[in-house]
Amino acid sequence: MRIPVDPSDWLILIPEFILLGTAIAILMIDAFAKAASDRSSPWISLAGTAGAIVAAVFLWGNPLSGFGGMIVNDDFGVLVSTAILTGTALAVLISVDYVRREELPAGEYYALILLSTIGMLLMVSSANLIMIFLSLEVLSIALYVLTGFARMRPRSQEAGMKYFLLGSFSAAILVYGVALIYGATGTVDLQSIADELISPGVLGNPVLLAGAGLVLVGLGFKVAAVPFQMWTPDVYEGAPSTVAAFMSIGSKAAAFAALVRVLIFAMGGLRPEWLAAVWVIAALTMTVGNLVAIAQDNIKRMLAYSSIAHAGYILVAVAAANRLGLQSIPFYLIAYAFMNLGAWAVVTAVTRKGEEAVGLSDYSGLFWSHPVLAGSMGLFMFALAGIPPTAGFTAKIYVFMAAVAADMIGLLIIAIVTTIISAYFYLRVTVIMFMERPAEPPVVTVPTPLAVAIAVAAAGTIWLFLFPGVTQSFTDTVARLL
């Protein structure tokens, strides 16, 4: 009998194991020394995340595949994992004070964040449809719980419930798609699917196409692509802000990695068939996300629609499915991790009567009282709008160039027009921060960990603009995968 397992396979999972060990340690400390856990768990999780980043970087440049080809660790995966771990680290930093203030159970909170991160990392390195589904569940179940984590708040509960039900619904669709693909090709291994696609009988099989469509729906739900995006604003609004921040990066990045693996690596041969579908979804996602964001008065909802819109831009790169597209996706995700978490960090800093102040009007005159905080927020808004000198600009340029290289001029024009439109609502936030201070200003607290998170996010946002070459050498090797 063939034994497909090799002891060295475990090496691939070192980042995941570090996170798992950290999560278990946090849970044990929480169970046996509650008081110590409340103080120490954020720092333990931060250390664990840092360890995972180091381990991930060690795996760089040395593509491994293990567990019978179910798990791969290529450069693309490492880069997206870096984006996710960056997001996790920043999310932990902004949670330190937030969790204390909201009186959330610290041990469980950080353990769940780390467990969800494990799911994300696994999803990024899945080379098998079953693994994609399993890791999707691992990351989602932790997120469902986290979304409803503020148990005393009906909104949080409602959001958790909605996310759970819709998430299960879409996961079921995904599994059905996996089953259909298996039915058509006789395999769930992505490489084998790619090999199968060479035979003409498989290529035109409607069962395969239907399966691909359903998998696209399942992953489209996770990345918040239109028309599978409707949960996003409700969930982001109801979930604790730090959780919303965390999942806006992590689950999106993981799902995009899976999408790239399924659509480009495994089903690149079907691109003529799926291109139009992804094209339309990308166009709709950019348009709806940006247009609806204009009408929002709640900053969390606005950021939710903004995250929908950004999914649309990344989908443009997916649709391009060329070297530049593959390079731009990890870059975009890392840039987005910095700028979006920065914006969310500012959101957690502004409160009113112990509640988060989420109305846009709560930001009036923020520049008056907290120039540095407001300045950072302005920077993040410019970055999200894709205006230099920020990483958001460079990321968009990459995506646009990928679209050019793929001759998708129509989609490119939609992308540029919606980018221009998006300037309107991002700018509105900065305009409001310049306005007169309201009679009853919200309370703004910027504890040190939060300040560090904002500083790191701001520095990353500018740094990636000045020296995109730093990630360049990485992304070049990614592109060779094609």
């Binding site: 929002q296 530049l324 600009f393 050019v404 007169e436």
Partner: protein, 640 residues
């Protein structure tokens, strides 16, 4: 060779960083001096670059210096690099030179403002960005500078953020210019598609090898960007509102430097434009029509800064007229002289406002001549210069453009007529302003008149220096027929030409007879305008009002600026907001919710409906996912 030229944008950037971080803790004197000194240093470096460039043989005056490879992905490559050639050095000198004086002036003008360090942070950032814009050696870096000056302009227009009008004006400026940026972005993308590179050298070298249609599209798109930034029809509406910013900002950004970026862009891309003569004609006509159109609005406006704003729009129109007929050097020459006299006019206006506690309405001025001698005389110099009176600077540059409009191969008598009409109106409105502000009976309150005073030296010294510039800057471009033997005629053009399109679009020299005749016509028109203004506002002060009464329709149309703002509001702003609301309420709430709820209403009435919406949401979402899945799978299967 020119590595040190990085200091030119680097020094103001350093000022931004220092003032941005430590400005609040430093004494005002340090902040202002540091900011001014750094821009001054940048000017000195520019001069050094200029001298070194002059030392080179003409054909070697084209040096690039790359700092590092900025972006390289696949076949997409861009470096953070600068290009030193006559055109960029010319712009560096204008930007850092005028910028320096405005920094100095600002130390006095903003002396009592709360946001002193913030102001200089922005101003330095602007100088750095503008210098990056003009020094970039590729279209991507140019675009970065282009956007950065947009941000600075926005920040500085809304500098007094406690005024809602200032905040709204900043936003309007940003959004309007972003519309132009859309064209610019597409143009840059198209350049990449067509040429496979964004570096100037490679693009311009290959300009002749690309299909005419593509070149036409590229140049049109770039020109759309230029229209937005340089406030030409139809995207000029933001500039008058931009006067909400501090006056030195209006002088620096919205008169002398940033708004001329569009002219710079067309001149920089001139090797492309010469391959698209049709687009050049569009450029010329947009410029000429804008010149006349904006001048008519300036005739009746009563706000001293807005008159100058419309005047700026009009003058930039003239520059576009110049570059549009292929006289790139003439357009840039006018850019130079305009930088002097328009900055001077704005600073003079600022000085008047400073004396009158911020009053901007010329109906409440008058009789200031005796109170402010320096301001009076320098304003007069600037007025004569813009009106085109010999031998002040505006005379030569405007004449150059008008002559080119008539005689260049790309010219047309209609363009000349439009330009001439605009010149007539320019002379009229500027002296209307002048007479109303400085002559006649004082119309302000006695208390204000009492307090009116000349401005401090930090403000008057720049006025005097700029006045000297406005008076003599024209001599660097004296046409050849006036002094056929002298070696210094057309100095600007001879310096600039190697950096511009090589194609000889403009004949080197006019026959002296025609040249002199055109000059005299232009001079006569300028004098006529001034005379008319004198007749209307000094000799018979009631004439203008009677005229307005006799033709109220014309007067109101002009006073309301042709209702363009209102039209834009109705055409673009409101539908845009409505569309957003429609997507939200209409699609998200009404269509999906409405479908399900509509059924519920039919069955069980309103109370049930209200209850159902709470639980209904989730189903609607699931329904949307399901419907999306059905459509998607249906489509995919149909592709078979």
């Amino acid at each position: 060779m020119f590595t040190y030229a990085w200091l030119v944008p680097g020094l103001p950037l350093l000022g931004t960083i220092i003032n941005g971080i430590f400005g609040r803790f430093l004494p005002r004197k340090v902040v202002g001096t540091l900011a001014s000194a750094l821009v001054g240093g940048s000017f000195l470096v520019s001069v050094a670059v200029f001298i070194q460039l002059l030392g080179l043989p003409e054909e070697e005056r084209h040096v690039t210096s790359a700092l590092y490879t900025w972006i390289s992905a696949g076949n997409f490559f861009a470096e953070a690099g600068i290009l030193i050639d006559p055109l960029s050095v010319f712009m560096m000198l204008v930007v850092s030179g005028v910028g320096f004086f405005i920094h100095v002036y600002s130390t006095g003008y903003m002396g009592h403002d709360e946001g002193y360090s913030r102001y200089f942070t922005y101003l330095n950032l602007f100088a750095a960005s503008m210098l990056i814009l003009v020094m970039a050696n590729n279209f991507l870096l140019l675009f970065v500078g282009w956007e950065l000056v947009g941000i600075c302009s926005y920040l500085l227009i809304s500098f007094w953020y406690s005024r809602p009008s200032a905040v709204a004006a900043g936003k309007k400026a940003f959004i309007t210019t972003r519309v132009g940026d859309l064209g610019f972005t597409l143009g840059v993308v198209l350049i990449f598609v067509a040429f496979g590179t964004l570096a100037y050298d490679q693009v311009f070298a290959a300009a002749g090898e690309v299909a005419t249609g593509v070149i036409t599209a590229i140049t049109v798109l770039l020109f759309i960007g230029a229209i937005g930034k340089s406030a030409q029809i139809p995207l000029y509406v933001w500039l008058p509102d931009a006067m909400e910013g501090p006056t030195p900002v209006s002088a620096l950004i919205h008169a002398a430097t940033m708004v001329t970026a569009g002219v710079y862009l067309v001149a920089r891309a001139s090797p492309l434009y010469v391959h698209a003569p049709g687009v050049l004609l569009i450029v010329a006509f947009v410029g000429a029509v804008t010149a006349l159109f904006a001048a008519t609005i300036a005739l009746v406006n009563n706000d001293i800064k807005r008159v100058l704003a419309y005047s700026t729009i009009s003058q930039i129109g003239l520059m576009f007229l110049g570059v549009g007929v292929g006289a790139f050097a003439a357009g840039l020459f006018h850019l130079l002289t305009h930088a002097f006299f328009k900055a001077l006019l704005f600073l003079g206006a600022g000085s008047v406002m400073h004396a009158l506690a911020g009053e901007t309405d010329i109906r409440n001025m008058g009789g200031l001549r005796g109170k402010m001698q320096v301001t009076y005389w320098t304003f007069l110099v600037a007025g004569l210069a813009i009106a085109g009176i010999a031998p002040l600077s505006g005379f030569f540059s405007k004449d150059e453009i008008l002559a080119a409009a008539l005689t260049a191969p790309g010219g047309h008598w209609l363009l000349y007529a439009l330009g001439l009409a605009a010149s007539l109106l320019t002379a009229f409105y500027i002296f209307r302003l002048f007479f109303k502000a400085f002559h006649g009976e004082p119309r302000m309150s006695a208390e204000r008149l009492e307090r009116a005073h000349e401005s401090p030296p930090s403000m008057t010294v720049p006025l005097v220096v700029l006045a000297i510039g406005a008076a003599v800057a024209g001599f660097v471009g004296v046409p050849g027929f006036l002094a056929p033997e002298a070696g210094w005629t057309h100095a600007v053009a001879h310096f600039l030409e190697p950096g511009l399109a090589r194609e000889p679009l403009v004949e080197a020299e006019l026959p002296p007879a025609i040249g002199v005749m055109l000059m005299l016509i232009a001079l006569a028109v300028g004098i006529a305008g001034i005379a008319a203004a004198w007749h209307f506002y000094v000799r018979r002060p009631g004439t203008a009002a009677r005229l307005a009464q006799r033709a109220p329709a014309v007067y109101n149309t002009l006073l309301n600026k042709y209702w363009v703002d209102e039209a834009y509001n109705a055409l673009f702003v409101r539908p845009g907001k409505a569309l957003a609301a429609f997507f939200w309420r209409g699609i998200d709430a009404a269509v999906v919710d409405g479908f399900v709820n509509g059924v519920a209403r039919a069955v069980a009435g309103l109370s049930l409906l209200v209850r159902r919406t709470e639980t209904g949401y989730l189903r609607n979402y699931a329904l949307a996912i399901f419907a999306g899945a059905v459509v998607l799978v249906g489509y995919l299967i149909s592709t078979r």
